[in-house]
Symmetry: C2
């Protein structure tokens, strides 16, 4: 059965203080987005790869060398809308679809395998990692310590049975939809948490590019 | 005025599956602990450096080359007790004392400066960083999404006015004392949160050594 990945690269990266959004910035000589494309292709060369890009940056992306076939789809005003555009581009009605943040170039092959296998067995799989540092929660008077053992850091690719995810995405947009797991859950589905990989962090601030380059050297 | 740092290296590292606790493992050719000693010395060569080590590992540590003067103190059964031993070794009654985890070799000079300066101005300074990944809290039925903007990841060195910290450490031990900030707070003091540095993570699992080596290459 045909499986899919929707790589969401539609942000405009305001937090990076840079003209080019983070997913297009050069990381050890290649755009950040290219790493995810290569990693999913390496997982399964038959995977249907869909990349969602803000219309303003499609010409830039199309001007880059393209060695791995993928479909480029126009992003929407929100992440939710961008995923909807990605889903609309998929003709099939079955299979597993992964939704991945382009700003996570360091996803491991093992995490990708775990998520697709988990979704095949349980309908969905959400990669998470444990928290090893102390955690405090801000409140009106300051902050309170919380038990880190009760928290999980959520990553991508979040993988789902395609037709059920399409159903979930029929809900109207809500600001609580920070990722696909929250959309899935709001539709009454339960989540299947699986292990992610610790270096699979989301590039957010400019220093993160240096961090990602260091990690690439160590892990690739 | 004389300032101090107590570097807590008293753990036995059960999570590392390794005979040698993580703070003594070689990181790019030097024991992990050595990095913290060097960084605090670089911040202030007059700093009184106290290192707390489990009695079983003191002979090992004493067999290592020692270029930066520091006092070695025996660790206790808990982190709380180890810090108490460190405090007891300090003859002075004033100044700022930083308490630092030896398993955080990547603390930046800027974080150290920020913490000592913050403690001088406000009595204490606790380095924290923001959370950029989605966060879920486990509960009895599964997990719920929480607002990551309300959370801070807590690091070290946690810096305090020495005499007030001594007072706080007169409290009986409680299992909620996961760090010095929690001891300080339980004594009725308020916390002053200041910015840490993102690569200043705590080595916890074996893969973390590889991560730390990559970060050293990028940040040192």
């Amino acid at each position: 059965m045909q499986d899919h990945v929707i790589i969401v690269a539609a942000g405009v990266g305001s937090r990076m203080n840079n003209a080019l959004p983070k997913q297009f910035m050069p990381l050890a000589g290649k755009p950040v987005l290219q790493y995810s494309i290569e990693k999913f292709y390496r997982y399964n060369p038959q995977l249907n790869i869909v990349v969602v890009i803000h219309p303003e940056y499609i010409p830039f992306w199309n001007s880059q060398p393209r060695d791995i076939p993928h479909l480029v789809v126009e992003g929407g005003a929100t992440r939710f809308e961008s995923v909807l555009h990605g889903l609309a581009s998929i003709a099939e009605s079955n299979g597993i679809v992964g939704i991945h943040d382009a700003a996570r170039p360091l996803v491991s092959l093992k995490t990708i395998e775990t998520c697709y296998h988990g979704a095949r067995a349980h309908g969905n799989a959400i990669p998470v990692i444990e928290h090893f540092d102390s955690l405090r929660k801000l409140d009106t008077t300051g902050s309170i310590p919380v038990d880190r053992a009760q928290y999980r850091i959520v990553q991508t690719p979040q993988c789902f049975e395609l037709s059920t995810l399409r159903e979930a995405y029929r809900q109207p947009y809500s600001p609580v939809f920070t990722d696909d797991a929250s959309v899935w859950e709001a539709a009454g589905e339960t989540l299947n948490l699986v292990p992610g990989n610790r270096e699979n962090f989301k590039l957010t601030v400019p220093e993160d590019l240096r961090l990602a380059e260091a990690l690439l050297l160590a892990y690739q």
